[in-house]
């Protein structure tokens, strides 16, 4: 057996079923060996895009994604997407070919170890053929335990050397099993803190959702009269299960949400790191004491402090015990008619949409999309100014993925969506800006080639929306951020998918209906007005209380 075959075999044993990337001299043997073993290979148009897809795949599947490149220029293409995956804490393994070991004069030579360090990923090197299995196991172990990308860099001459296979132990068998039980004294401290509070907010994060702690959270909420808020990564989770769901905690929260959250005297965070986005550096909870339930050994919150009561435990176990010790507790808290009204009045208030010929108000576009897209269709939120509208205004319960705050790169969301669809098999729609979509336009062709049920909704203001509005706020020339583009519905059809360019709410409804009736690669180019400034921008740039 050759080393590349042993490595392919090891990847399969690690659970690899789908690999994204682009073939070259230094990874073709390994890819061939994977294909022989039934692994699905997704050939993409840019290595960085492949990594974005592996990132989306991993986030949806909950296990390491895999991307592959050839040596040198294939690796250097990974930079931006790797940084995004690293900031997102995504476990993935990048199998990167390398020029012949020690040949620094080779045309495609790159010091891949140093490059990996610069783009914030771990590094495992295959220096000898007899390390083939060990290297794969180590790469996956690091990805799983450190929750970050790992580059497995393999010189192609070493890959093709002989290898004597052993008994491969997949990295997941090296991990501890079972749930982390909470320290009883911490549960008691949490009980005391909660019972001494009157206005409690529970913040549910991605960790709580992954742990399946929904029922336990709702029970605790009912007992404590708490408002339920989520982080961006758990947006809209459980919003159909309680009328005291306040939506997002953070800049993207509604005005009543921000006002109510500032009244809290206790915050219970479940599977949420309480980073500076969620707490606005702590300013959103000026009077609150914190109970934090998390599986990590320790968490420093976004305000630079640790929780008043930190409970290291599995979310379900900790909440079950907390609910038991609070069995006799009933706090009215926020569960009043007045709070209910404040939460619903905001949603029901009429909106004075901007009417510009041939362009839709982005708020109206989001409302149409939210109503027309069935809840079983997953949503991915993109980047730029336009994403503020969807982040705030999508209200229905569905699986939502946000890439906000993960390095701030535009263009990643459609790639994440492709990977997510491959992992789940479910249709998904991504709401993205025109500059972002066009940045990786060729990958729509990839989605067409593989027949993926991907809907890209392009909120098209024909420009760099964020920059357009920031230029305005700074008194600079806004027109510099305007970049006209062709009708993208037609472009999508030319690439082999479906597509429509829409200029009214009715046209948007019709286009969504066409996609929903037959989910397939589809682009809806929604021409939106530049006249509407998002609420976060109004807050940040003009200090408006909205």
């Amino acid at each position: 057996m050759k080393a590349y075959e042993a490595m392919a075999e090891a990847f399969v044993k690690e659970g690899t079923t789908d690999v994204f990337g682009m073939m070259g001299d230094a990874n073709m043997h390994w890819m061939d060996a994977l294909a022989e073993r039934g692994v699905r290979l997704y050939e993409v148009r840019h290595e960085g895009s492949g990594l974005g897809m592996a990132d989306g795949w991993a986030r949806a599947a909950g296990r390491p994604g895999v991307v592959t490149t050839t040596s040198g220029p294939g690796v250097s293409q990974l930079a931006t997407s790797m940084l995004c995956a690293s900031r997102a804490g995504t476990p993935l393994v990048a199998f990167c070919g390398e020029t012949a070991w020690g040949d620094e004069g080779a045309v495609q030579y790159l010091d891949q170890r140093r490059f990996a360090a610069a783009i914030e990923c771990g590094f495992v090197h295959l220096s000898k053929a007899d390390q083939a299995e060990e290297a794969v196991q180590r790469a996956f172990y690091l990805a799983r335990t450190e929750n970050r990308p790992i580059m497995l860099s393999a010189p192609f001459d070493v890959q093709t050397q002989d290898f004597e296979p052993g008994d491969y132990v997949p990295s997941h068998e090296l991990l501890p099993r079972g749930r982390t039980l909470p320290d009883p004294s911490r549960i008691e401290a949490a009980r005391e803190l909660i019972e001494g509070s009157k206005r409690i907010v529970i913040i549910a994060g991605r960790g709580a959702r992954r742990a399946g702690a929904g029922e336990e959270i709702l029970e605790l909420q009912a007992r404590t009269g708490a408002l339920l808020a989520t982080t961006l990564q758990a947006k809209n989770w459980l919003c159909d299960r309680t009328e005291f769901h306040v939506g997002l905690s953070g800049l993207f929260g509604s005005k009543p949400a921000q006002e109510l959250l500032q009244e809290a005297d206790c915050v219970i965070a479940v599977g949420a790191s309480l980073n500076h986005y969620t707490t606005e550096h702590g300013y959103l909870y000026p009077e609150a004491r914190y109970v934090q339930i998390d599986s990590a050994p320790n968490v420093v919150m976004g305000n630079g402090r640790v929780a008043d009561c930190y409970v290291q435990a599995d979310a379900v176990t900790a909440l079950t015990e907390l609910n038991q010790v609070l069995a006799g507790t009933r706090i009215e808290g926020f569960h009043t008619d007045e709070t209910r009204s404040r939460l619903t009045d905001w949603l029901e208030a009429p909106v004075d949409y901007v009417h510009e010929p041939g362009r839709i108000d982005p708020r109206e576009a989001i409302k149409v999309l939210d109503a027309a897209m069935p809840p079983e269709f997953d949503l991915v939120l993109g980047s730029g100014h336009q994403t503020d509208f969807g982040t705030m205004l999508f209200q229905r319960s569905r699986q939502v993925t946000s890439n906000y705050g993960m390095f701030g790169a535009i263009g990643q969301a459609p790639l994440l969506t492709i990977g997510q669809i491959v992992a789940t098999g479910r249709p998904a729609f991504v709401v993205e800006g025109d500059a972002s979509f066009l940045m990786h336009l060729p990958e729509f062709e990839t989605a067409c080639r593989y027949g993926l049920p991907l809907l890209v909704v392009v909120m098209n203001d024909e420009g760099l929306g964020a920059e357009y509005h920031k230029l305005g706020a700074k008194g600079l020339t806004q027109d510099l951020a305007i970049i006209p583009n062709p009708e993208l519905g037609g472009v999508a059809r030319a690439l082999g998918g479906g597509g429509a360019t829409v200029r009214s709410a009715a046209e948007l409804q019709a286009a969504v209906a066409e996609y929903v009736a037959d989910p397939r690669p589809f682009v809806i180019d929604v021409r939106i007005t530049r006249e509407v400034l998002s609420v976060p921008y109004r807050r940040l740039w003009y200090g408006e209380d909205v």
Binding site: Q262, E263, Y283, L284, E287, N303, R539, L540, W541, Y542
Partner: protein
Amino acid sequence: MISITETIAVPSPRTRVWEVVSSPADVVSCIAGAELGEEHEDGSFDGTLVVKFGAVRVRFGARVHLELDEDGYAGRLTARGKDGQAATRFTAEAAFRVVEDGTGSKVAMDGEITLTGKLTSLIEAGAGVVVSRMTKDFSARLVELCAGPAEPAAPGAETAPAARPEPAAPATLVARIRAWWAALWSRRSERTSQGGTA
């Protein structure tokens, strides 16, 4: 850094305007969300200021120094402090001068506020807009206060004379307006201290 360059036209005599702007308690009463705290031996005093950035309410505490040039009708105010989360620090310096302007006066202000810390990323350019809005609000209150007769310090100011009378039945329009402000301030202070939503 946020710069403030403002000239406020006040239709009151210079002596009356000087009386107000040279009184920390009166000046504080013209700033929405501000309260005067303890006075120190060196003449400086503590102050607090609650500012809304968007929907988020932030409470700042500061040590304030006020230097006055009585003969020149001029002064210099410096303040240094931090917010309640201790995550943001600020310094503020402002020079002001009262000059005659026909039958009225003008107050010329020239100042700078420097914010450092976590809040700066949260409020972006909005801070300048908020300060500009507060300056306009201050101007309106200053004009209103100067239009009234000299009175004890404004409501909410802890260093105001202890004997400051609670106006049982304010007689003049100005007094009624001030009583209304006093009631409003009192409510704001209570609710803010509870992390409230005023």
